[in-house]
Symmetry: C3
Subunit: 271 residues, 3 copies
């Protein structure tokens, strides 16, 4: 099923109508901004990380989003328990391997998570995906994307085959890679890279779309299209990154089908 403005709008409408509960175990930097993005979209966020409650919380959720941005051992334990429970309940699991490759601890942790439970969707930048796939031994520089997203497509294909996951590589063109599908999304704006955590927000939105759409590659593509469209609409009226953050939330909240029809630029291929 190809991504279209119409099916993307339908998914947005379903999220707004159902307000699916998205359980996030995420990093300290973006907890506030991702919760706000999920609320602006129409989903219902909850953040909980204690081993004492993650399994019960995930049992009430429609999707689990795991983000390793500010890791520590107790959090890794909770992520693993929550992911196992989510897999048992067959709800979608989104993994954001923030900074994979930047330290061996992050790379090791992601591999451990991958060995425990195959995520439904893995969303990262090209450096992170390359690091994960060990397609390249290079290190990421912090948590920024330093590789072109197209270079990571081959690595993503291999990961997708191994784990059965949809891999979403964000960049100037976002690539959605699964065994059967390769989609490119060309929305977005360079100013978005000057706001911390918009990649993490993209992962959270993948969770919301996957919660209402059993076709996970399509869900990931729809989430990235919404990010890109809202981001570029926000950037066009923003003199800087402070304004962009504000307008991004306003636009996510106000988004119409017409915005999607007018702006979505997707391609079924290497983009």
């Amino acid at each position: 099923m190809p991504i279209t403005p119409e099916n993307t709008w339908e998914a947005v409408s379903t999220i707004r109508a159902q307000a699916p509960l998205i359980h996030n175990i995420t990093n300290y930097v973006v907890m506030n901004s991702t919760a706000n993005a999920l609320l602006a979209l129409g989903a219902s966020p909850v953040m909980a990380h204690a081993r004492e409650e993650v399994e019960e919380m995930v049992s009430a959720a429609s999707a689990l989003v795991i983000n390793i941005g500010t890791l520590s051992p107790p959090w890794v334990e909770s992520m693993t328990s929550a992911a196992r429970k989510a897999a048992e309940r067959r709800i979608p699991i989104v993994l954001d391997p923030v900074g994979a490759g930047a330290t061996s601890y992050r790379t090791r942790t992601v591999r451990k998570l991958l060995d425990a439970v195959a995520p439904t969707i893995i969303r990262g930048n090209a450096s992170e995906i390359l690091a994960l796939a060990a397609a390249e031994k290079g290190r990421t520089k912090g948590v920024d994307a330093t590789e072109h997203s197209s270079r990571a497509v081959e690595a993503a294909r291999r990961m997708s085959e191994r784990y059965g996951s949809t891999i979403c590589i964000s960049g100037e063109t976002d690539f959605i890679v699964s065994r059967q599908v390769l989609l490119g999304i060309k929305n977005g704006h360079p100013l978005m890279a000057r706001v911390t955590g918009l990649g993490c927000t993209a992962s959270a939105l993948c969770g919301a779309f996957a919660a209402v759409n059993p076709s996970f590659a399509l869900a990931a593509a729809q989430a990235m299209a919404i990010m890109g469209v809202a981001g570029e609409m926000a950037a066009e009226i923003s003199p800087g990154p402070g304004s962009l953050q504000l307008h991004f939330l306003d636009i996510l909240y106000q988004l119409t089908e017409e915005d999607l029809v007018r702006r979505m630029r997707t391609s079924p291929g290497a983009g």
Copy 2:
């Protein structure tokens, strides 16, 4: 003493003049936004959670705000120590039972805190208050309010009798319940629910008002009135939740007595 725009304004002026130090042990999601709201109001926030320092920090504070939004065992220990110290010093303690009922860990923790120290004010949504009072065995869905606030008034009355606390149930109408008092506040705007943590902000403001007003039911009512007035003024000029956050802080900072006189809608009863 009934709530009036005049006594509410007097409390705001006292907060601005005295800048009471409000010690918050709160969740990761809202630390930044509640600190900013306290600063915009004129109070002086501090966040500290280490067992090594909470007692000393609370000794310098004029109120303690405990919020269980992103719990874990070491935090619960610190919350308990800080609450005991606050009780010993007879400074107000505000408890925000975020997500009580959503997991047994949260419900259990709140009960443990309640057994250790009776809070001055408990502020939650109707689901949380109902969960706490065990008036209903139903689960809250995440941390959103799924129950009408009026349904929780009876439960709040029982909790107030048991703990001697003022119970503040936020919702379309906010109810302030204590053994002697029932107040309804009808300010606010639906868009506020699309900004994460405005409930937590309300609890923090309860701390600031209780710090300067020994009549705690009145203090809670004043805090909710300020939240509602600033929130509805912000919502009226905001196309979405991003703008609302910004305007909410600006308006909290600029609020005048006239705004209160013109907007406050309170009622001494079931609202």
Copy 3:
């Protein structure tokens, strides 16, 4: 070398061109806002605190910023390890002693950090610097500045002699104190005190400037000048602290040499 708009602009341009990676071990309240300020300036922030990865992360960084705002023992351990590694690699270390003096745990921790590694730059308000220098036994009230920055200059001079650090005392006039240098920066605006964490942001910017400028006293002065200029430009168009936050990031992103030439007010002396 005196601070000038020209050499400050040159430093800004270098940061924009090189995007130095700034490793922050900082408090929960400001992680998002300091990451955004570093991004708006043109630097590349990373937040990481796990003992398992801080040494490796600091090995990729161009500066380390340590901020004790929401301390706990595992974080102190990581701060110490990271600082040792940074010293070994001879990259600049900025220490922000948030709330030093407010609790003995904070004061003790800062002294422990100082004993382990001499920071390149220590940036705090007058109360914090006085508490550190033990020049005064008085307690700080929360984390606000309650002392005039000029009173702390003598204490800063002694600390600078003892640790070889540049001491930056922020206040209405910011003082940059080292063994050879005393500079005053008179930019800024009172509304900035109503936004949480702008002091922490100043420390993070000190890290970015020190990463590209081996003259650390000059780097600290340039960082404070940029904070003050962007802050006052933002405040002038902001009706309250919500707007200030947004405009501050926009202006940091858009800042021009002309802004610096027109606004910077520095003095080589007691200001």
